[in-house]
C-alpha cells in the first residue's frame, strides 16, 4: 500500500550511510568476529595477497621500519603524480623545458605535484636501499627466500633506472649533463677495449651508448627513448616484479621472523598458551593446501594476530607517513630546475644523480672499472649472498647470530678508515698517471682506488671468514664495507667535488662562475 511504501522509502533514505558502508563488505556488515575478519581479508581483491593472520613479531615497527612498504608507497605516489604530470609534459626538446615551467607556474597544483613527484622518487631510491640493508642485516634472505632476494635486486636496478630515465625529461642543464655523464659511463667498456686494441671488432661500450641515446649525442632521440622507458616500459616491468615480490613474501611464509622457542609459552588474550614451532612455509590460508610438515589442527594462535585490522592499520599508517613526509618536503623545497639545456655550456661540475655519484667518483679514476666492472661485481656479489650463506638461523632478528654486531662495527670503522684514507691519498698525491705519465691504461684499469677498495674489502671479509669461522659474519663484514663505501663515496662526490672535479672542502669555496 502506498503509505508503507513511502515510509519504507524514507527509512531507506535515512539509513543510507550505514547501508552504503555495509554494502562495501561482501559479508554484508563490518567484521565482528575473527572468522568474519578472515573473510574480509581473504575475499578482498586488494587484500587477499595478505595472509589472514600475521605473526606478532612482524608487526613490531623496529623489525622492518616499514621500509619495503615505504618504497611501495613512494612508488604509488610517483605513479599517480607522474600520470598527472603527463597531462602537461611534452617530450620534445623544443617544448619539454617550457612545459615544465608552465607546470610550475600556471598549472593548478602543478608546482606541488611536480615537487611531490621528485621527492617521492628520491625517497623511493633511499627506501629501497635501506630496505635492502634491513633484509640483509635481519638475514631475511636465507632459505626459502633466496629467490625473493634476487627479485629484490632486480627491483633495485629497475628503481635506479626509473629514476635515471626520469632525470632527463626536464631537459635543463642538470638533466642534459647528468645524462651525458651517464651515457659516457655506459660507454666505459671502451676504456678496456681501447686498451687492448679490440674496439674495432668488439665495442660493447659504443653499442650501449647508442642504444641509450639513439644517436651519438644526447638529443631528441634520447629524450623519446627515456620517456618511453620512464612512463611505460620500466613501470610495467617494476609492477610485474613487484607482484612476484609480494607473492613470494606470502609463499615463503610471510616476513622473516625469529623462531619461537620450542615448547615455550605465548601470551594471548590474557592466557598463556603453548607455542608450537612455526614452519617457514606456514601461511594460514583458509582454503589452500599449504606445504608443511604438520597440519595446524587443534593448535593455538601461536603468537599471531588477525591481519584485519592490525596489519592493515600498520600498512595504512606507513603509507600515510610516507605521504606526509613527501608532502612536507614538497611544500618547502622546490624540485630543482636549472637553465635550458645548452650543449655549448657544460655544467661544471657536471654531476650524475646522487645515487650514481659514488660510481662517478670511481669513474674519475678509471671509466671501465668504475662504470662497469665494480657495479657488476657489486650486483653479482649481492646476488650470491643467499647462495653462499646457507646456514639457517638468525632470520628475522637484527644482528641475529653471535658476534654479528661486533663484526658490523669493526667493519664499519675499518671501511671508513680505508675509504677515507684512499680518498685523502688520491686528493693529495694523485694516482698512477700523475707519477708515470706514459703508463699503459691497463695498469690503471687494474690498479685504481676502486679496484683497490674492492680487493681490500674482499680481503677483510676473507679475514673475518677465517677468524670467526662463519660465512654469515664474513658476509656481514663485506656488506657493511660495501654500504660504508657507497655512502662515503656518494657523500664525497656530492660535497667535496667541485668544478673540474677538483677537491674542495665546501661548495662555498667553488669559484663563482
Amino acid at each position: 500500500m502506498a503509505e508503507t511504501a513511502t515510509r519504507e522509502f524514507l527509512h531507506n533514505l535515512h539509513e543510507l550511510p550505514h547501508t552504503v558502508k555495509d554494502a562495501c563488505f561482501r559479508l554484508g556488515k563490518e567484521p565482528e568476529s575473527e572468522r568474519e575478519e578472515s573473510h574480509a581479508t581473504f575475499h578482498n581483491l586488494f587484500l587477499h595477497i595478505h595472509s589472514v593472520r600475521v605473526h606478532l613479531r612482524t608487526l613490531k615497527p623496529t623489525l622492518t621500519f616499514g621500509l619495503g612498504l615505504m618504497a611501495t608507497a613512494s612508488f604509488i605516489i610517483t605513479i599517480i603524480t607522474g600520470v598527472l604530470l603527463m597531462v602537461y609534459y611534452k617530450p620534445s626538446t623544443d617544448l619539454a623545458y617550457q612545459s615544465i615551467k608552465d607546470i610550475h607556474f600556471t598549472v593548478s597544483t602543478g608546482r606541488f605535484i611536480r615537487n611531490i613527484h621528485r621527492w617521492s622518487a628520491q625517497l623511493m631510491v633511499l627506501a629501497v636501499l635501506l630496505h635492502m640493508a634491513r633484509v640483509f642485516f635481519t638475514a631475511s634472505y636465507k632459505k626459502p627466500r633466496e629467490f625473493n632476494w634476487l627479485v629484490g635486486l632486480g627491483l633495485l636496478v629497475m628503481t635506479l633506472a626509473l629514476s635515471f630515465t626520469g632525470y632527463l625529461l626536464p631537459w635543463d642543464q642538470l638533466a642534459y649533463w647528468a645524462i651525458t655523464i651517464g651515457s659516457n659511463i655506459a660507454n666505459s667498456p671502451r676504456e678496456m677495449t681501447d686498451a687492448i686494441g679490440i674496439t674495432k671488432f668488439f665495442d660493447p661500450g659504443g653499442l650501449q651508448k647508442r642504444l641509450l641515446l639513439g644517436a651519438n649525442y644526447v638529443g631528441q632521440d634520447a629524450l623519446i627513448r627515456f620517456y618511453v622507458l620512464h612512463v611505460f616500459v620500466l613501470p610495467l616491468a617494476l609492477v610485474t616484479l613487484l607482484g612476484v615480490h609480494f607473492w613470494r613474501i606470502r609463499k615463503d611464509g610471510g616476513l622473516a621472523k625469529p623462531e619461537d622457542p620450542m615448547g615455550g609459552l605465548a601470551e594471548w588474550g590474557g592466557e598463556r598458551r603453548p607455542v608450537f614451532q612455526p614452519l617457514a612455509t606456514k601461511t594460514y590460508g583458509l582454503m589452500a593446501l599449504v606445504k608443511g610438515k604438520r597440519p595446524p589442527v587443534n593448535r593455538g594462535p601461536e603468537n599471531t594476530v588477525m591481519s584485519w585490522p592490525h596489519l592493515f592499520w600498520a600498512e595504512l599508517s606507513v603509507l600515510m607517513v610516507t605521504v606526509a613526509v613527501t608532502l612536507v618536503l614538497s611544500f618547502y623545497y622546490d624540485a630543482p630546475l636549472k637553465e635550458l639545456a645548452n650543449a655549448a655550456i657544460p655544467e661544471n661540475p657536471a654531476k650524475a644523480p646522487w645515487y650514481f655519484l659514488g660510481i662517478q667518483e670511481l669513474v674519475s679514476y678509471s671509466a671501465f672499472t668504475g662504470g662497469l666492472l665494480i657495479p657488476v661485481i657489486v650486483v653479482v656479489g649481492l646476488a650470491l649472498i643467499p647462495f653462499l650463506d646457507r646456514r639457517p638461523g638468525g632470520e628475522g632478528t637484527w644482528f641475529g647470530s653471535s658476534h654479528e654486531r661486533a663484526v658490523f662495527w669493526q667493519s664499519l670503522f675499518f671501511a671508513c678508515a680505508v675509504t677515507v684514507g684512499m680518498l685523502a691519498f688520491t686528493v693529495n698525491y694523485g694516482w698512477l698517471r700523475n707519477w708515470f705519465p706514459n703508463i699503459h691504461q691497463l695498469w690503471i684499469i687494474a690498479i685504481n682506488p676502486g679496484s683497490l677498495l674492492v680487493l681490500i674489502f674482499a680481503a677483510w671479509s676473507l679475514f673475518i671468514l677465517k677468524r670467526k669461522d662463519s660465512v654469515r659474519l664474513s658476509a656481514v663484514s663485506l656488506f657493511t664495507c660495501f654500504l660504508v663505501g657507497f655512502t662515503l663515496l656518494t657523500y664525497f662526490a656530492t660535497v667535496h667535488r667541485g668544478p673540474n672535479w677538483h677537491f674542495y672542502w665546501w661548495p662555498s669555496q667553488w669559484p663563482v662562475h
Binding site: E32, S33, R35, I80, V107, I113, W313, L316, M320
Partner: protein, 154 residues
C-alpha cells in the same frame, strides 16, 4: 550465542574512527586537488583578441573584411558588429557574395547577417564579441560569441 560461535571482537574506538576518518578526508582532499589539475588555469596558444583600429576609421554602413583574422567588421546606425568568416559546416572560409556569404566547400549560403539561407551549414555564422581597448581601439574577441543582433555602441 552458543559456545560454538566465535567470540565477538569489538575494535571500535575513538582512535580508530578518528584515524580512519582523517585518512579518508586526506585522500579526498588529495583527490580534489588532483582533479583540478587537468583544467588549464590559462588557455595556451596565441590570443584571439584582435585590435582592428580606431572606431572613427569605420563609417556607418561600412563593412570591412579582415582576411588574416577571419572576420568581417560591420557598422550601421545601431553600432558595430563582427561576423566570423568561418563556415559553421566544416570550417572553410566563406567568401562574400551578392547577398551575403557563400562557402566554396559544400555550398552553404548565408545572408548578410550570417543567417543560413542554403546548404548544409547547421547554424548561422557566429557573431563575435566587439569591445574597446584601453586606448580606444576596437577589439574583436574571436573566442567569445555573442547573440546575433548584438550591436556594440560607441
Amino acid at each position: 550465542m552458543s559456545r560454538l560461535d566465535p567470540p565477538r571482537v569489538s575494535r571500535r574506538s575513538f582512535l580508530s574512527l578518528a584515524s580512519l576518518g582523517s585518512f579518508f578526508v586526506a585522500m579526498g582532499t588529495a583527490a580534489a586537488g588532483m582533479f583540478r589539475l587537468p583544467n588549464p588555469a590559462v588557455l595556451p596558444g596565441p590570443v584571439r583578441r584582435f585590435k582592428l583600429g580606431a572606431p572613427d576609421e569605420f563609417s556607418s554602413g561600412s563593412e570591412t573584411a579582415f582576411a588574416e583574422q577571419n572576420l568581417v567588421l560591420f557598422r550601421d546606425d545601431e553600432g558595430f558588429y563582427a561576423i566570423s568568416s568561418t563556415c559553421t559546416h566544416l570550417g572553410c572560409t566563406v567568401a562574400r557574395s551578392k547577398d551575403g556569404f557563400a562557402c566554396p566547400c559544400h555550398g552553404s549560403r548565408f545572408d548578410s547577417k550570417g543567417s543560413v539561407i542554403g546548404g548544409p551549414a547547421p547554424r548561422p555564422l557566429p557573431w563575435l564579441e566587439v569591445s574597446r581597448a584601453a586606448n580606444g581601439d576596437l577589439i574583436v574577441n574571436a573566442d567569445n560569441e555573442v547573440p546575433e543582433g548584438t550591436r556594440y555602441r560607441v
